[in-house]
């Protein structure tokens, strides 16, 4: 099961979806919004996705995980829109007969999701600037100025 949602992610529901009578182990990774990024204070995150492509690629990841490990269930849910500090932005869960497969597949899924799935994070900093994640690593000064002028709009 893969999903994008504007609402808070119900972790108990994700786990309930994963457990089957044959399952012995469920591993769940929950990505939460942090109050810091590259040493700066973050107050809010905003996610956007290229939604149809994100859903397709998440479905591909689900299939690839099932091909590589004997899994009972796979859930990938990414939240979009504004996400407060401490809330879950992504939940990845897998169930299997044994824990080794559950850990390996879950790690594979979150690593792959973060590399491949077209989702972007806009970081709202305590100093008032708003930047796309990673934006200011390329050409730091230019972008910070740009972000500040954007905010005035």
């Amino acid at each position: 099961m893969v999903a994008l949602t504007l609402n808070p992610i119900d972790i108990e529901a994700v786990v309930a979806k994963l457990i089957t009578p044959a399952s012995g182990g469920v591993n769940v990774f929950i990505g939460t919004t942090r109050n810091h990024s590259h040493g700066r204070e973050v107050t809010l995150l905003e996610y956007e996705a290229f939604e149809p492509m994100a859903i397709e690629l998440m479905g591909d990841l689900e299939r690839r995980a099932h091909e590589q490990w004997p899994l009972h269930g796979v859930v990938l849910v990414h939240r979009l829109g504004k996400v407060s500090i401490g809330e879950a932005s992504v939940v990845v869960g897998v169930s299997a007969s044994h824990r080794k497969e559950a850990f390996e597949a879950c790690r594979y899924l979150i690593d792959s999701l973060k590399k491949e799935v077209p989702v972007w994070k806009r970081e709202h900093f305590a100093d008032g600037t708003v930047e796309w994640s990673g934006e200011n690593q390329k050409s730091q000064i230019k972008k910070q100025n740009k972000s500040k002028s954007e905010i005035k709009n």
Partner: protein, 81 residues
Amino acid sequence: MKIYLRLFANARDLAGFGEQAVDLEGNPRAAEVLDYLSRVNPEFNAWRRSIRLAVNRRYVDEGHVLSENDEVAVIPPVSGG
């Protein structure tokens, strides 16, 4: 040849638009979308190597040959999770 561009995140901010129909000459390859964007805003040159392109929702390399009515998505470095 007409293609449909879709831009996201800071690529959209740099271009100043999120969607655009573009006419490209001859038998264009995906790289020509990046050439086009660099003419729209020269700052795209600095980002060129980190941008990925997806045609009809599948990642392609710069040499991919485009077809009429392709949807070409400009994907800056993703930062989900």
